[in-house]
């Protein structure tokens, strides 16, 4: 009995901290409509800032607390609201989620940049290890303080939201933002205040939690998944229910430590997965929202219907690039390039799901991990059967994962997939081989997995051959994705993304459609994962298939252009390619920590990605054959120089970029003629252009001024 009481009290203390975190999350969500995935990362930064002041610089705890919770955290929260979140009020949900996830990735990177993850950060709770006894149970002052703070917060928030002017304005902004503005409230100010308070609460929860778990970047950041679950029990609205949810999760976790048999191969890490499992169950019982039409304010998305001709040219270019690279790269580099392509295939799995269907998955690397596990155990010798099994099994797992949340879609699907990823990270991927009856189940062994490289009639025996096969595979999958886009299935996906309400009323079963595309995407990720593990030099670690690794994949995919293969390639290049440079250029490692997140924040708002800008940038070449020829010829010369080993490294990269840009630059400088800018044609056109259109559809020039002067009877009148 005493053990039960002890476990419960410990659980309540943890629950109190979760309640503090979840309250901040609900507060920002209800006030601004943005689900802050970075809430945990903000808590992590708060905890490290406190460590810096309190333990590294030796400031007294009360002063350190006031500085972090009263100054740094609220300022940081307000800054994020003003600089990033304010622009997202009318953005589609996918964009909000991607930007919010980018913030998580960026803040995590920032934390690791400032406080080296390789070093220990010893912390103590408030009042050290001092404790007191109640009914024979020891309670540390730190835990008691956590409980007291949660109660004070509950009372304080109630008073703030119902009795103060700022609180009432905040609630008004939640109900109806435009109406509250008409009534004299300032929703922007309320939003800023909510983010400031939310950030402070995140920091407080981080500071309280750090001594109880460990002062480490990722665990503190992932604390948020526990808070997600609590907030979801409160349906992202009700603070009392959020508190109840936190209590449930905290106490369940504590009871699990006490009562789950230990040591046990199967259950040792189970408690870490409890919040994610609770989140899953809550999503199962949430009511399905009505299909909605599209909002009024939308950025115009461009997801072109690719022509077969263009797609075949692109696919051939992938293969040609593979062939070329296999000739110029060293053996080791060829293997690395093959691995970049394998990761790009995992990225490509997001194109139908995110690009076409507008649904989000935060567990694509977890699916890749499942594919790797199946390949390791069923694909001995790199057999094709192993690859097929990896695809099928992962697709089935994907369907199972999606089932509870698929009818909810959007944010809820993102949360469910995140929860699934955490269950794998914390529990299933850490399991040692175990037996069910006479059947031995093996996932990762000691967190590592040895996967044979795919075997294809001897073509993959050399690293160069493997690279070519990977390039062909990527090209074929790219064509498969193009086929999806061109099919009725693809049209259905785009229709659903555009207007779920209209799609439903023409007879499309949205739930089935989402399930189908999620299954397809999971299968592709599983296939990519089997190849990713198979192209590794040596064994792979389960750390490569975590929730935290899935996030940059998604956001770089969006940054590159999620409607095409470009995002997938960008993700592959940055995530698998950049680490190759760390040995030679250590500053790259620091850059790589913050680059994906920062790119996501800056570019995640543009649903068309970098590829669309590139497409528009290079479009003039299509109308200027000479400039196109210059570009192709100079690029060919540079590639030839590299082939002949006359140039390499950064000079080669610089020359290549210059060559690719050469035709366009010469065109812009007027050195090369453009078909639509030929002077004589312009003269012809002028006769047809009405005066009021001059200078609108093309640059304004001197002839236009003369024409205007003529029409207005101002010829010869001097301009003073």
């Amino acid at each position: 009995m005493e053990a039960f009481v002890q476990a419960t009290i410990l659980g309540v203390a943890i629950a109190s901290i979760l309640a503090v975190a979840a309250t901040g999350l609900v507060l920002t969500y209800t006030t601004t409509g943005i689900f802050n995935f970075a809430h945990g990362a903000m808590g992590m930064l708060g905890a490290f800032a406190y460590w810096q002041l309190r333990f590294d610089w030796g400031w007294p705890a009360p002063i350190a607390l006031v500085v972090v919770l009263g100054i740094l955290a609220p300022l940081f929260g307000a800054l994020i609201e003003v600089a990033i979140m304010r622009g997202l009020t009318d953005a589609p949900e996918t964009v909000r989620v991607v930007v919010s996830i980018s913030l998580l990735v960026a803040l995590l990177g920032l934390g690791q940049l400032i406080w080296d993850p390789g070093k220990p950060y010893p912390v103590r709770g408030f009042w050290g290890v001092d404790k007191f006894e109640v009914a024979g149970v020891d309670i540390s002052f730190h835990r008691a303080a956590a409980m007291g703070i949660a109660v004070a917060l509950a009372v304080g928030l109630r008073v703030f939201l119902y009795r103060t002017r700022a609180g009432v304005a905040m609630r008004a902004a939640v109900d109806d933002r435009p109406l509250s503005t008409l009534n004299g409230a300032r929703p922007n100010r309320s939003a800023m205040l909510a983010w400031a308070i939310g950030s402070s609460l995140a920091a407080l929860s981080g500071i309280l939690m750090a001594p109880l778990i460990q002062m480490s970047h990722i665990p503190l950041t992932l604390l948020i998944v526990n808070a997600y679950a609590a907030a979801m029990i409160g349906r992202l609205r009700s603070l009392p229910l959020t508190f109840a949810g936190a209590l449930l999760i905290g106490v369940l976790g504590s009871w699990a430590i006490e009562y789950v048999p230990s040591p046990s191969i199967l259950w040792d890490n189970f408690r870490l997965a409890i919040p994610a499992i609770v989140l899953f169950v809550v999503l199962l019982v949430l009511r399905q929202p009505r299909p909605r039409g599209h909002g009024l304010m939308r950025t115009r998305e461009i997801i072109p219907r690719p022509s077969w001709r263009g797609s075949l040219i692109t696919a051939s270019a992938f293969v040609a690039a593979g062939l070329y690279l296999s000739q110029i790269l060293t053996d080791t580099d060829a293997l690395s390039a093959a691995r970049i392509l394998a990761l790009s295939i995992i990225g490509l799995s997001l194109v139908p799901l995110v690009g076409y269907a507008g649904q989000l998955s935060l567990c694509q690397m977890s699916f890749a991990g499942i594919g790797a596990v199946v390949m390791a155990h069923q694909g001995a010798g790199g057999s094709v059967i192993g690859l097929v099994l990896a695809t099928v099994v992962t697709a089935l797992v994907g369907a199972l994962v999606a089932l509870p949340a698929i009818r909810l879609g959007g944010l809820y699907l993102a949360l469910a997939t995140g929860a699934f990823a955490v269950v794998l990270d914390e529990w299933l991927f850490r399991l040692q081989p175990f037996k069910v009856g006479s059947w031995e189940i093996k996932l990762f062994e000691a967190n590592r997995l040895s996967v044979d490289r795919p075997h294809l009639l001897g073509a993959t025996d050399t690293n160069g051959g493997l690279l070519i096969v990977m390039a062909i595979t990527f090209a074929l999958l790219y064509l498969a994705v193009v086929t999806v886009r061109r099919s009725t299935f693809g049209q259905r996906l785009l229709a659903m993304k555009d207007s779920p309400a209209a799609a439903a009323t023409v007879g499309i079963n949205l739930t089935l459609l989402k399930l189908a595309v999620f299954t397809l995407s999971a299968g592709m990720a599983g296939f990519g994962g089997a190849l990713y593990a198979g192209t590794a030099a040596g064994s792979v670690s389960s750390d490569q298939f975590t929730f935290v690794n899935s996030l940059p994949l998604l956001l770089l995919g969006v940054v590159g252009g999620i409607g095409t293969a470009a995002g997938a390639l960008l993700a592959g290049l940055l995530l698998a390619g950049m680490p190759l440079l760390f040995n030679d250029y250590s500053w790259m490692e620091d850059l790589n920590r913050v680059l994906p997140g920062t790119m996501g924040i800056a570019l995640g708002r543009n649903p068309n990605g970098i590829v669309q800008d590139l497409r528009e940038g290079f479009a003039p070449l299509g109308r200027a054959p000479l400039a196109l020829a210059v570009t192709l010829a100079s690029t060919g010369v540079v590639l030839g120089l590299r082939w002949a080993d006359l140039v390499s490294g950064f000079p080669f990269a610089g020359l290549l970029i210059a060559a690719v840009l050469s035709g366009g630059l010469l065109l812009r400088l007027g050195v090369l003629p453009s078909a639509d800018a030929a002077p004589e044609e312009l003269a012809d056109e002028d006769t047809d252009v009405p005066l009021e259109w001059l200078g609108i559809d093309r640059p304004f020039h001197d002839d236009d001024v003369a024409a205007l002067d003529r029409a207005l009877g101002l010829e010869g009148v001097p301009v003073s």
């Binding site: 998305e301 219907r305 009725t488 555009d498 309400a501 023409v506 007879g507 079963n509």
Partner: protein, 237 residues
């Protein structure tokens, strides 16, 4: 028995009674009008019929079939189609793809040919390959109409289809509606252009503040005192 039967539907949004015990019927082969001031509940009623808004009370029947518990896509497959007051195009798709998709979803064996046929009917063949979110409102409404027709509906619900169209287009549109109804479809028309409603409809329902104020032929409605009071603030002299 009427083809579409809406009975005693009540919808509440919080404390706001959007529809209060509303009933409506529509016959095959007729255009049924539904008019009323802004906020009367017309679009909400369409949402209830198509399954986008579950009612607190009441039921929706298509012939003998009770649709009340069916999801929107099942209702569409049974023969309910609609257009939207606030345009809901599949903006990422071309005009032709919008219509072709609807035909394909309903199992049409040659959806592309059907799409071309319908686009010719609504006069948009020339814009078939334009991205649909580039169209002005009037033309976009025609695409929505063609898309709805591509599902081969038995009941067609049109939510302000003439807004954004000029006078001549509206006149042609009225004739087209007559033709669609004549092919055996029950057309329900929500429209602010009262002339168009009176000219096209055989029966007119008047909705006001969530309640059905009057039902009758266009002549009866034009003489109905309650309607005149609601619309003009005073009864006719």
């Amino acid at each position: 028995m009427s083809l579409l039967n809406v009975r005693d539907v009540t919808v509440r949004f919080g404390g706001n009674l959007a529809l209060d015990n509303v009933s409506l019927t529509a016959e095959a082969g007729q255009v049924t009008g539904l008019i009323g001031p802004n906020g009367a509940g017309k679009t909400t009623l369409f949402n209830v019929i198509t399954g986008l808004q579950p009612p607190q009370r009441g039921d929706v029947r298509l012939g003998r079939r009770d649709l009340t518990k069916l999801p929107p896509y099942r209702r569409a497959r049974l023969g309910l189609a609609r257009t939207f007051q606030r345009l809901e195009m599949f903006g990422l798709l071309s005009v032709r793809e919008n219509v072709e998709l609807a035909a394909a979803v309903q199992g049409n064996s040659s959806p592309a040919a059907r799409a071309d046929e319908l686009l010719a009917m609504v006069g948009l063949s020339a814009l078939a390959y334009t991205r649909s979110d580039e169209l002005p409102t009037g033309q976009a409404r025609r695409v929505e109409l063609a898309r709805a027709l591509a599902t081969e509906p038995r009941v067609l619900l049109l939510d302000e289809p003439a807004s954004g169209q000029d006078e001549q287009e509206t006149e042609e549109f009225g004739e087209m509606l007559g033709g669609i109804a004549a092919s055996g479809v029950a057309v329900v028309l929500v429209e602010h252009d009262v002339q168009l409603v009176m000219r096209t409809c055989q029966v007119v329902h008047v909705l006001d503040f969530g309640s059905m104020l009057a039902v009758g032929s266009p002549d009866e409605i034009q003489r109905n005192e309650a309607v005149l009071t609601a619309y003009l603030g005073t009864s006719a002299p």
